[in-house]
Amino acid sequence: MEITDKMVAKTATKLSAEDIQKGKVLSVKWTPNLKYAWDNGPALGRYLAELKNGRIIAKKCNKCHRILIPPRMFCELCWVPTGEWVYVKDTGIVNTWVISYVDWKAGRLDIKGGVRPFTPAVIEIDGATKGMGILHLLNEVDPWKIYRGMRVKAVWKPPEERIGAITDIKYFKPVE
């Protein structure tokens, strides 16, 4: 048995975006407006509370001795409860990064109009175990001059604007 053009021809009917936009085929539309309030648990709860204080906190696993960030109540490798809390630094190095011309909905940024591309990165945090990174944004740097191993430091929101969120750090910027 071969799968042939003839066999697949009648399995599906091609539509264009226009067919839907102009109502040539009828569609039912719905825009969900779902709302959630996510609890953060004890580990991330403390992490957020410390971000509000302008500090980054990690948690140590006493079995594999990794200093884990974001902190967690159990070590996913050793499958045991984690031990003490450890403050780590708000500096680190760029592990890997991207220069994004799109937003989260795949909407295009107006790069030609002067909008700066997003430059998200995995940042290895000083004081955590080597290779332990977090996702955050880079700024105050030419996107095309970012490199692996670049040293960066957190740029915090002013204390009165912090709410206990990962966005209490506005972004990371290069340091010498």
């Binding site: 066999m7 091609k14 539509l15 991207v98 996702l135």
Partner: protein, 385 residues
């Protein structure tokens, strides 16, 4: 455990936007699969369904919704879901049902209709990220793939223009695939000149969003021998999940794919995969992913896949043809249906029924692989004629 064979296959056409409902697409693929081996629905003991996030179709409990289309009316039925890895978990899930001795036949269906998330399904991915530490930064899937591609490139010194050859190869292969959405003759320059999405990822480095469905029929040995002269045996299965703390993994190498592959190779008695596998369908939602997976599957030494690609090693007439179907980049990427499309491609290749896509040398052993979730799941199936 009993030996399990694939005895039939069906596939819809893949489109960016198909008029048919998810149920209707599932029906078309399942119907074709049964017809291909001259079986009736009453010959089927159980049904399994692979389908990815409910958010695409906008139907919560999508498994239940799709059941009728998949021919599951009043039959034992289960749905499975591991993101992009789903379509290659589908035959594994069906394999359990038959290998265990519980059932003699199983209809395996995979369906995805991404166009329902309107105007673009990208936004539906925001909630796969950690809601506390990542989602407030508004990440996209493209970001994390670009982040991984960059890490892969910096590790080995791979160049974008070399990785682009994957798109050239797969889109060309797809010209010969009847279901293909994006078969095309393109050049490396076309890829490099295509719109920057998130450097290092350009538009032509990415597979499209698609609507489509695929289905296979599995049978225990005594049934398979009666149904067909060319059963294709599922000789090895493997799957594995890595941690969801993806920022703490070194993204240059997919360890979890290697773990899954080793499990499948051990079961199939394969000692030297790069010699014993004759044709492969690694998952290629992005150009670099095919190479990343080829290395993880131990089909190329780490850091050498680009050199081999440039030498034509992975071409349809090369030493180890990869994605002869045209892959996700060329045939299209209706997530779960893509993985099962890859299984079907190996099924056809091993039966010598791949038509214009047939790889030379009468292959007798092939592999399909998929990958997904937060860059953390590997699913692998080894098949033999």
């Amino acid at each position: 455990m009993r030996r399990v064979a694939i005895v039939g296959a069906g596939l819809t056409k893949f489109y960016r936007n198909a008029q048919e409902t998810p149920k209707e697409l599932a029906y078309e693929a399942a119907r074709m699969a049964l017809d291909s081996c001259e079986m009736k629905l009453s010959d089927i003991d159980c049904v399994v369904m692979g389908t990815a996030p409910d958010a695409f179709d906008g139907v919560h409990m999508k498994g239940e919704y799709l059941a009728d289309g998949a021919g599951a009316y009043r039959k034992p039925y289960m749905r499975h879901f591991v993101g992009g890895g789903t379509g290659v978990l589908s035959p594994i899930h069906g394999w359990f049902h038959v290998a265990s001795g519980m059932f003699d036949t199983c209809l395996v269906v995979a369906e995805e209709k991404m166009s329902s998330a309107y105007p673009h399904p990208a936004g539906a991915f925001l909630t796969i990220f950690d809601h506390t530490t990542e989602q407030p930064l508004y990440p996209t899937l493209i970001w994390i793939f670009a982040i991984e591609m960059n890490r892969f490139m910096t590790t080995w010194g791979y160049k974008k223009e070399d990785i682009a050859l994957v798109a050239v190869k797969n889109k060309r292969n797809a010209l010969d695939h009847p279901s293909a959405q994006l078969g095309a003759e393109i050049t490396v320059q076309d890829v490099l000149n295509s719109e920057i999405m998130a450097w290092p990822v350009n538009r032509l480095d990415i597979s499209p969003t698609s609507d489509g469905a695929a289905a296979i029929v599995l049978a225990a040995e005594h049934v398979a021998r009666r149904v067909t002269e060319k059963p294709i045996w599922i000789d090895g299965v493997g799957w594995c999940l890595d941690t969801a703390y993806w920022c703490t993994r070194d993204l240059y190498y997919p360890d979890y794919v290697e773990v899954a592959a080793r499990m499948a190779y051990k079961m199939a008695g394969i000692k030297e995969p790069s010699k014993e596998i004759h044709v492969a369908e690694p998952y290629d939602p992005f150009t670099y992913k095919e190479l990343h997976h080829i290395e993880g599957l131990l089909l190329a030494p780490r850091g050498k896949s680009v050199e081999m690609l440039k030498d034509g090693y992975f071409n349809r007439d090369g030493n180890l043809p990869t994605c002869p179907s045209g892959g996700a980049l060329g045939v299209g990427n209706p997530i779960s249906a893509t993985g099962l499309m890859k299984i079907i491609e190996i099924f056809l290749q091993l039966r010598g029924e791949a038509g214009k896509r047939q790889v030379p040398g009468k292959p007798t052993c092939g592999l399909a692989q998929a990958w997904g979730d937060l860059m953390q799941v590997g699913t692998v199936v080894v098949m033999r004629s």
